[in-house]
Amino acid sequence: MTFVAVMYVNQQALIYQMGLKVKQNNDVYTKLVDHNKIVIYNVLNLRSPVSLERKLLAGKVELSMPSKWQVVKLVKKGPIASLFASGRQENRFK
């Protein structure tokens, strides 16, 4: 009888310990997920058009529509033709 009682108490203690460990792991997991979300938010913030535009303006980088002579089209050719024409570019508007 005493043995059964001791086993019962031991089992309860083990259950408690395991529960505690699960809780601790869950806390770590939650913390990492929260941190991940904040990092995602920061990345989205950096990637937002407003932020990118601010950086471009700060760096005095001006983008505009290309002129006709600046537009080239890369032509996809067959495998044999491409052997002879590798690296060539064709002006779409020639």
Partner: protein, 582 residues
Amino acid sequence: MYKGATPRIRKVLYALIIVFALLGIRLVFVQLGAAKPLSAIASNQYRLAVPLLPKRGVIYDRNLKELAITINLNSVFAEPFRIKDKGSVSQKLANILGISRDEIYRKLSQEKGFVWLARKVSPDTARRVLALNIKGIDFVKEPQRAYPNGVIASHIMGFTDMDNNGIEGLELRFDKYLKGVTGCRYAIRDAKQREVPSYEYKEIQPMDGDNMVLTIDSVIQSIAERELENGFKKYNAKGACVIVMDPFTGDILALANRPSYDPNNAKASPADFRRNRAICDFFEPGSSFKIVAASGLLEEKAVKPGDKFFCENGEYKWCGHTYHDHTPRGWLPFKDVIKYSSNIGTMKAAQKLGKDRMYKYIKKFGFGAKTGIELPGEVTGITAHPVTWSKLSLCSISIGQEVTVTALQLACAMSVFANGGNLVKPRIVERIQDGSGHIMQNFESKKPRRVISEETAQEMRNILRGVVDSGTAELAEVDGYFPGGKTGTGQKVEPNGAYSHSRFTASFIGFAPYDNPKFVIAVIMDEPRPFYYGGVVCTPVFKRVTAELMSYYKIWPASLHSDNVKVSTSLKGKREIKKNNR
């Protein structure tokens, strides 16, 4: 009772019997009579219900870029009775939390078991408070809505309060979809009120909120916001808005207002900044409204584009009232009446349409009714019934007075010409889907309603192209794309009921490209200064937004389509494609 017992022992025994009898009675009472209330008290003492908060749904743009997400932040609280040196703690926290020392000291001096010190602080602030390691100061995680793009699309999305309930915009309108359902975990707590991890006996999982996909394109939105901001500042306007819309589907690609606010810190801005002017404000549109009379006249074949009207050299008396044109003109063909925005010419032409047909077209174009966009707070504008019109009303309404409209209604009306004669219902929400991508609700484009014939729509496009080509909106011209549109400068009404000569609402509503319209753009400026004509203050915004949209969608200017094709516009405003045989 044995005989040898002394009277004293006997007395003790009697006393014990009585005590145990009383205890027995009490036991029976507790076990049978008071069992329920007592077990309820006990249950409350050791049971714990932990609310499991759902994740609020994400709001995406049409390309599935996140516009609104939820992050968990720490909130700092104190248990005042556990803090010994309140003065020193207040000073330390004040330096980190940015709250005055006196305020913190006041909170810590309260006779309460729990007080908030700061809600939803940044991770860095939380780290610094944690490093102080003060007994009685602790944290609890709370979800916080975050908008990575800041002010971009703030009027569309709105914002949430401290408890994550939607307060404005789509956050308010679709709150029940976005916020989800709170779950609960029933567990057991120990004497120190801590949850005992292994004794959890029931858990109801929370249901996360649904995600929402909008028709907004965040790139177009940021272009529109930037250009509107430039125009708003340059012309010192009281307010401004821009709408970019797909004329065929009714999809709103961008909708921006000024002044604006950052939804991450909405409280910092006055309520007036948070108003969505594009749908909540109505105004007298002025000449922009001439498109209704013009299309009605052409559709009813009451006039032809070449029919001539005498514009009275800029001054016209009608029913005891004198009307003026901003530039005096004589005889003008009808298409030039619209091109040069002659009030007198339009009024004379409108007489041929008559009251009832004018009203019919106002209604057909959707004025005086909500467009049905999914945003909260939309107004209808005011369009009186012809029964109540005065003798002047037909003239006034034909030139955009005595009626009030919203910017969105004007954009929808311009879409009619751009898409070949149909009124589309605007939409800003594409679909609502759950976390695994299953569509819960699809906001499909509704079948458009025909307003005018394709021929009339084409005729109107020609006229509106002329407005930009050589009319009142020359500043809206974008080389190679041939936009069309209509300017408007509406006088505001003074408190005494008279039209103001110093306060105006400027507008320009246009479409581009001319031959195959992809976008309708409406630009409205409220009380711009010192210039106030729609053709001056709104057209530059339209021009720059259009130019950037074309680059973004890789729509080449006509000159880049081919060397063998030359695109030009004739005086009639018609696009002619000539074979260049050089």
